[in-house]
Symmetry: C2
Subunit: 146 residues, 2 copies
């Protein structure tokens, strides 16, 4: 059913890159903020690289930077870069095709499940990384007179 925490960690990573846009960050320094192992970070960075969201350089003084503006990265971009599977899976093994119900349930469910997932992704598509970072900064400095 549920997705992995890769998506949440990926947003964390990218928010960290945006707030430190003046320098490339190593997987070790990112891991210190996420509170995990650098290899876990590198595995996620591999997906983000493949999706073209970040750019990584080898060697001493290497590390990772955002590949485009935080305004041009949506949470849906990050979601697709980090998660594989359908949120709402169909049956583990195919139903009995000799039963009318078994024959017809999956095409109907597949359509409905796709609509449900699309609605979720639409919310993610409407939120940019820049907005997330802005909300995080508002969280860090709450207004005294709110």
């Amino acid at each position: 059913m549920s997705a992995s925490s890769r998506f949440a960690v990926a947003v964390h990573i990218l928010a960290l890159l945006e707030t430190n846009a003046n320098q490339a960050l190593s997987s070790s320094s990112i891991a210190a903020s996420v509170n995990t192992n650098p290899v876990v970070i590198r595995r996620i960075l591999g997906r983000l690289n493949k999706a073209g969201l970040v750019h990584t350089e080898y060697g001493a003084d290497g590390g990772t930077r955002l590949a485009r503006s935080a305004n041009e990265i949506t949470l849906n971009d990050i979601y697709h870069a980090t998660e594989n599977c359908r949120i709402l899976p169909l049956h583990a093994s195919s139903p009995n095709q000799d039963c009318r119900c078994g024959r017809t349930i999956q095409p109907v469910l597949s359509t409905i499940f796709s609509s449900a997932e699309a609605a979720m992704q639409q919310v993610l598509a409407n939120k940019s990384l820049a907005e997330v970072v802005h909300e995080m900064q508002a969280q860090a400095k709450p207004q005294a007179c709110s």
Copy 2:
């Protein structure tokens, strides 16, 4: 985490009960349609019973019937009866609270993830079991002149 197909199987079960509303169905006969073990069915029926969607009777000639009209059961009711966890989980272990990003990411993500999940559930809430059964019957008998 690996995905659960309980939700899809639960819809299958309830659709089968609706199309055989004249009789109580045993877990064995349901399992024959789903193509799995009766105990798997009984585990899901236990959740549906607890949620008040079906009513089960013991003994010879026992079995399960819908507890209310298929018009009054939405896919979101079934979803909540069968699935436990959040769709979009936060970090597996808490981020570094000494980092500004680590401190602020989770409350922001939690709000966004809740909105995304709510959008998905809204789609499910707008689809009744009766509609699903109707779509299945349309699937079984396509119009010749469509």
